[in-house]
Amino acid sequence: MNIAKQYARPLDMKNGRVEMSHGAGGRAMAHLIAELFARAFDNVFLAQGNDGAVMPAVSGRLVMSTDSHVVSPLFFAGGDIGCLSVHGTINDVAMMGAQPLYLSAAFILEEGLQLADLQRIVESMAQAAREAGVPIVTGDTKVVERGKGDGIFITTTAVGVLGDGVTLSGDRALAGDKILLSGTIGDHGMAVLSQRENLSFDAPIVSDTAALHTLVQAMLASGASLRVLRDPTRGGLATTLNEIASQSGVGMLLNEAAIAVNAPVAAACEFLGLDPLYVANEGKLVAICAPEDAERLLFVMRAHPQARQAAIVGEVNADRFVQMTTKLGGRRIVDWLAGEQLPRIC
């Protein structure tokens, strides 16, 4: 990574673009890594400059999770693919009840991607990692020919450590348990979609992308008997609850009136014929806990800035389906999403 100054081609961050040579393993790649990635992610592990990072021993069970991020557009209100790729993977580890420790990041760049955009994305990742206190300790960069990628794909992996006695799993929900939701739904998905479709509303829709591990730690510290934590990302709340119901072999009954949706999100969903229950979130979690602990857990969640609007949204039961009492007073199934959510015609 130490290139003599006279050999280094300066990176034209303003007008330059990603070229095939940036992924070819040669000087251009080393230069890109040194000038951009290493500088932004700067930490002692990355600075070791080897094929892998060596970290100190930890005590406790390890949790590891990986996630690829392919969002289009790359930049949206409230975030971008960079911070999203950090938050998303941290959250996957956090939902196991673990304290996230380290991240890796692998980039697939498309030839022609503007270096200015890449820089913005990398700096956003660096900031997200810094704020979360989870360093990016190793990484990889590949470049594919123009037309063979969508600008940039980012895969991140996180490692975390699990405290003694913490066992969270999708198969642990029991009939009678309460279902808690940390806030409004649909914000991320509609922020991306409204940007993609060029829809504008009086109040902008802002992605909720955020790392939730401090919220999770506060929830664990409450001593409440937590069974399941999960972040309702792709497929939305409905899909997440169906996954849990099927893993645990239980049904659920939700209360539509308790599920908060921001007004512009509700309006955008209405306009496009989408159901916010199926729209992605990137900064929300669902918790299932023993009924006697639900109020205590809710209190702790609402005390955390990321879950001010937390609510008990339903109950686990011995039925076969995830169902919901509608605002109107009727009942309906909240099913798995079939295929991708497509707008209706008229």
């Binding site: 479709e197 509608t326 007073g329 309906r332 199934i333 079939a338 707008p343």
Partner: protein, 369 residues
Amino acid sequence: MKYVDEFRDGALAGRIAEHIAATVNPARDYRLMEFCGGHTHAISRYGLADLLPSCVRLIHGPGCPVCVLPIGRVDQAIRLACEAGVILCTYADTMRVPASDHLTLMRARAQGADVRMIYSTQDALKIAREHPDREVVFLAIGFETTTPATAVAIIEAASYGLKNFSILCNHVLTPSAMHAIVAGGVALDGFIGPAHVSTVIGSQPYEVFAEVYAKPVVIAGFEPLDVMQAILMLVRQINEGRAAVENEFTRAVSRAGNLKAQALVAQVFELRDTFDWRGLGALPDSALKLRLAFSAYDAEVKFSAAYHPVPDHKACECAAILRGEKTPSQCRIFGSVCTPENPVGSCMVSSEGACAAHYSYGRFREGAT
């Protein structure tokens, strides 16, 4: 959300439900057909059946544009996309309608056809302008709600002199389908009339059903309280032995409808002699085609794309369901072979389709899988 939440208010719904319960004669049945898929969707999504007395039976009608599109018409579009190499644009749900050879437009896209989902006809025009070297075909489907937007696109294409844009016209007419249902002898006591369709055509075209066939029609908005109120109005008419066209959706529908939209449609389209509907069969004067003056924009003419009728899947009961003769759970393959992930019939495709709505929202009521 203002102007929407008011129409989904649980307390108000409860009050209308009490009115309905107090008004019905429990000794008789009230067989009401909601013509539109939009109503079917609202009824299922809000669990409206739970608020109605058991003597009020809602029969799902054929007013779902995707559901009535016959296999042969989708085949036609797929052939254009795969063989003629056009950019085929269409509205979302249409992409999943099963066609011949286990194909859908979405599967055709996965196999390399250039199929694009659009939100408006303007998107299709934009694609045509951006790709002057490619032929762009818009698979136009829908009832009277979507027809004016297609008419505007044709007029604009003509005024720009766009040479690479055409449409595969499958626009169909609501009153024709209603005629087929009442003439076909489906046992029903009244119609919940279309919402969006009626904003365009007005309430006048339904008067024949009240006057000639003695079927009350109440035009209703797509919100659950609209539907509840319309049911109450229908129950009252039936109790009084009246048959009239009444309008619950006065905030958007007039007797004459949207005259400007009607004029645009009349300028661009004329009646087809006959059109195959899934479920209802070949109905005379039930669909539109482009007028001769606009035949340069008619993909059927431009690409000599002939329509070949294809029979529905043998076990599929979509036809009987679209005619209101069967309920989704009376179909042998409902929920087993035919699911929203793998629809065999068109009613399982759109969330407005009777089968998809029942599967997605209501199947807990019968213990189906």
